[in-house]
Every structure is written in structure tokens, then in C-alpha cells.
């Protein structure tokens, strides 16, 4: 029981007939209210539904960017996180410094940095390859996220008792192998929930690519909005973006919190 509940202890009354009827009336009123709003805004809703297939493609790009960014962040961040617990002093300090720098830079600034830093195209295998803008933005987000992954990995490794390192050493495993075969598999469990919430944060941050002109959900919505010149459309349209992200993100963040609670009880 939390100290807050001490201040507001209250016993819920049992569900009797009058309460049941009151609840029913409330739900009915809510239903009528929603119906009325939908009727008043029916043309806007129809328009937004009409746009949905195109907007869904935009949102798919958001998700793709989120996945690519998270892959990059995981690969680079895990490397950085393992270097943070390295025995080599120089490597460790460099990894710690880089992690802190990455964590303390605003995501938008890192995305700007990568967008401006990466070349427009590069030459490999005897031909020129263009780097699409969405990939650049995703890599920028991946770089920004890798600082967080690095901290997650370091925290996960630190959460494993030193006895496990010693046990691995007594099996004659070298340090790198004991990290890979003994420590990391055990640390995985405490790393998954924060990793999932980082995925949520990265996916939400893909909307920043809107500012770079990448045609993701918000950009494709704005392109359609400028074609309409209807100020009354703005509020429902941006509400639509809210709902789209919320429907995708909320279950993942709920599940990550559930895992965190569940696994913290037994560890």
C-alpha cells in the first residue's frame, strides 16, 4: 500500500440497482455524445478516412525508421556498453565519454548532425549509391539512441553479481567469452524492458524526420492539409496523428512496464 492511499482510503460501495442504472445512463450519454460529435464532423471524418491508406504508408515509414534506428542503436550501443566495462582503461574511458556525449545531445541536433554529415551519395562497387533522407534520419536517431542502449547494457551487466564473473573465470573462460556466454544472457532479462521503452521513444522521435522533409506520417498529412486550406481541419488532423502513434506505442509501453514489474519481483 502506498503512503498516498493512506490519505484517501475509501471502500467502494457494492453495485446495487440504482448505481447500475446510473452507470447505464452515463454510458448511454457518452455514446450519444460521441455519436453527435461524429455526426457534426462527418465530412472531416470521411476526409480523414479517405486519406488513411496514404497516411498509413507514411506511418509505415515511421515504423521502418524506428526499426532501422533501433537496430543501429542496438549494435553500436551494445558494443559501447561492453566497452564501458572493459578492463582496458583507455577504451573504458573513451566509451564512457562517448556515451555521456551521446546521451546529453538533443535528438534533433544529432539528427541534424548526421543529415549534414553523411554525404548525399557514396561510391562503392563501381557505382554511386544514394542515401535516402529517411535512412539518414534513421541513422541519426540510431546514433542518438545508442548512448541510451550503452547505458542499458552497462546497467544490465552491473546488475549481475560479481560471483558470476568469478564462476565463469573458474571455468577457465576468458573475459570476453564469459561476458558473451555467461553475463550477457543473464543480463538480458533486466535489459529488455528499458530497451522496449527506448524503442517507443525512438519510434516517437521518428516524427522529427518531418523537419527534414522525410515523407513520414506527419509530412504526408501536412502535404494533404496544404492542399485543402481549411483551418477547421487542422485540429482533427493532428488529433489523427496523436491517435495513430498512441495506438501503436501504448501497448508496447504497457507491455514493457508489465515485464519490468514482473521480472523485478523475482530477480
Amino acid at each position: 500500500m502506498s503512503p498516498l492511499t493512506l490519505l484517501s482510503q475509501r471502500i467502494r460501495p457494492p453495485l446495487n440497482a440504482s448505481r447500475f442504472i446510473a452507470l447505464g445512463v452515463l454510458w448511454l450519454a457518452a455514446g450519444v455524445g460521441v455519436g453527435a460529435v461524429a455526426w457534426v464532423y462527418r465530412d472531416i471524418i470521411a476526409l480523414l478516412l479517405n486519406w488513411t491508406p496514404a497516411l498509413a504508408r507514411g506511418f509505415a515509414l515511421n515504423i521502418l525508421m524506428g526499426v532501422v534506428a533501433m537496430l543501429a542503436a542496438t549494435v553500436f550501443g551494445t558494443l559501447l556498453g561492453c566497452l564501458q566495462v572493459s578492463l582496458h582503461r583507455g577504451l573504458r574511458q573513451m566509451a564512457v565519454l562517448l556515451t555521456q556525449l551521446l546521451r546529453n545531445a538533443p535528438w534533433l541536433v544529432v539528427v541534424f548532425l548526421v543529415m549534414n554529415l553523411l554525404p548525399f551519395e557514396f561510391q562503392a562497387l563501381d557505382r554511386w549509391w544514394q542515401i535516402p533522407d529517411w535512412l539518414k534520419a534513421a541513422l541519426g536517431l540510431g546514433l542518438a539512441g545508442s548512448g541510451y542502449v550503452s547505458e542499458i547494457v552497462r546497467g544490465g551487466i552491473r546488475s549481475i553479481p560479481v560471483a558470476q564473473w568469478e564462476a565463469a573465470a573458474s571455468l577457465a573462460l576468458p573475459r570476453r567469452k564469459s561476458l558473451r556466454l555467461v553475463i550477457l544472457p543473464q543480463a538480458l532479462r533486466s535489459m529488455v524492458p528499458p530497451w522496449m521503452s527506448l524503442y517507443c521513444a525512438v519510434t516517437m522521435a521518428t516524427s522529427l524526420a518531418n523537419l527534414m522533409g522525410v515523407e513520414e506520417l506527419m509530412t504526408s498529412l501536412q502535404l494533404r492539409l496544404t492542399g485543402q486550406t481549411r483551418p477547421d481541419l487542422l485540429l482533427p488532423a493532428y488529433l489523427y496523428v496523436f491517435v495513430a502513434f498512441f495506438i501503436y506505442i501504448y501497448p508496447i509501453s504497457r507491455y514493457s512496464r508489465y515485464l519490468e514489474r514482473k521480472w523485478s519481483l523475482y530477480s
Binding site: 493512506l6 516517437m204 506505442i249
Partner: protein, 247 residues
């Protein structure tokens, strides 16, 4: 002096740091820094007010009130900050009436800076509620029981025991949210608030010194965040109770 010694040397190194010698750029840059600081401080203050209010409402005896707070927290935690900014600035802002400013120009009732403060405050307020609640929950149960055994209850228990300990517990989370607030100010770039990123963007498009300004920009954020960390560790040391460790 800068014009005579620093500029030729830096330019000799290929480092066109126009904010050091161009007064317009210097002014833009400093104004941007001021806007970033102002945004961060104002939004943190707003988020603290929201956090305290939210925690109070979350312990309300009425279920709909508690559910409304939960809905607010979940909505603002699980949608992108940029979408929130656009929703408020373009969506709600376009519905507000125009008012006349001092010069007689018609302007929006709430300007872009105010919207940025409101949205950043609402966004971090949602995180603040969770953090503050967590810090109240982290007050040890045995300490509360000890206070109850001494006859404290209700308001007195809250004011003399739970609140002072909970505030200390909340300091790390507060430092975190301060750092987060400074970083989030860069998103105000989207609605043309002339903060640091916006100012630097203007400067590098005018002077073609993207690489230099990028480094300056990152350095500024590191200094700001380092300052926040230093400030918070000072405050934590100042309020540390000997022998008391939160969970």
C-alpha cells in the same frame, strides 16, 4: 582583438566561427541561448506545478478524477512531442481569436514561445507526475509507521514526514527532467521559436559554416547539461540527510 588575432588564425585553420566576429550572428546566437534557457526554466516550472497538482488529484477519492489524470499521463507519454507541439500550435492555435499587439498588428493570442512553454510543460509534466508519485511511494513504510506510533496522522503526517522525505527522493528524477527539458527545447525549432538550434540553423545557412556551428551547438548543450548536473548534485548534497537512503 578578436578581429586582429583570433579571426585570421581561426580562418587560417579553416574554422569560420562567425559568431565571434559578426555582431549580427553573435546577437542571434546569444538570443538563441537565452530562448533555450528561458524555455527550459519556464517549462520545468510549469511541469512541476502540473506534477504536484497531478499527484494531488491522483490521490483523490473520486475515481473519474484519478482516471482523468492517468489518461493525461498516458496520452502525453505515448505520443511524439512534435505531434503534441503541432497539435497545440496549429490545431488549437488556429481556433484562438486574433488580438492586437502594442503596434496595432493582429497577432495570435498565444505566441509560438508561449505555446512551446505550454507544450513542453505539459509533456514533461506527465513524466513529473510519475516521478513525484514514485518518490512518495519510496518513503519507507517503517518510517511512516514510526511516525504514526508517535501520533502523527493525516495532513501532519504528510507535511512533517512524507513531504520532506519525498522531496529528497524526487531530486534525482528532478535533475533528470531538467536535463530532458533542456534537450527538448530543441524541438521548439519546429514552430520557429528562435532558440539555440534555430539560431544556429540561421547562422549556418547564412555563412555556410555547418560543421563549425554544429560543434558549437553540441558544445553549448553539453555545457548547459553539465551545468544542470552540477547544480543538481549541489542541491542533493545540500539536502542530504545523514543516514537516510531512499529505496
Amino acid at each position: 582583438m578578436i578581429e586582429r588575432y583570433v579571426r585570421p588564425w581561426l580562418e587560417g585553420q579553416g574554422f569560420h566561427l562567425s559568431i565571434l566576429w559578426d555582431p549580427t550572428d553573435a546577437q542571434r546566437f546569444l538570443l538563441g541561448l537565452g530562448f533555450t534557457l528561458g524555455l527550459a526554466i519556464a517549462s520545468v516550472l510549469l511541469s512541476l506545478v502540473i506534477g504536484v497538482l497531478g499527484v494531488a488529484l491522483k490521490s483523490s477519492p473520486w475515481r473519474p478524477v484519478r482516471q482523468a489524470v492517468t489518461a493525461y499521463v498516458e496520452l502525453f507519454r505515448n505520443t511524439p512531442l512534435l505531434a503534441q507541439l503541432y497539435f497545440f500550435y496549429f490545431g488549437l492555435g488556429s481556433l484562438l481569436p486574433m488580438v492586437e499587439d502594442a503596434d496595432g498588428h493582429a497577432v495570435r493570442m498565444i505566441g509560438n514561445f508561449q505555446w512551446a512553454v505550454i507544450v513542453l510543460g505539459l509533456h514533461s509534466g506527465a513524466f513529473q507526475i510519475e516521478a513525484l508519485r514514485g518518490s512518495i511511494d519510496a518513503v519507507p513504510r517503517s518510517t511512516i509507521e514510526a511516525a504514526q506510533a508517535l501520533g502523527l496522522h493525516g495532513r501532519k503526517l504528510f507535511r512533517h514526514l512524507i513531504l520532506p522525505l519525498a522531496l529528497r527522493n524526487s531530486l534525482p528524477a528532478l535533475g533528470n527532467s531538467l536535463a530532458q527539458a533542456v534537450k527538448s527545447t530543441s524541438v521548439a525549432y519546429a514552430i520557429a521559436v528562435p532558440e539555440l538550434l534555430y539560431a544556429c540553423n540561421r547562422i549556418w545557412t547564412d555563412n555556410f559554416n555547418v560543421a563549425e556551428m554544429m560543434q558549437v551547438l553540441l558544445l553549448m548543450y553539453f555545457i548547459l547539461l553539465g551545468g544542470c548536473a552540477l547544480l543538481m548534485s549541489r542541491i542533493e548534497a545540500r539536502f542530504r540527510l545523514p543516514g537516510y537512503h531512499s529505496r
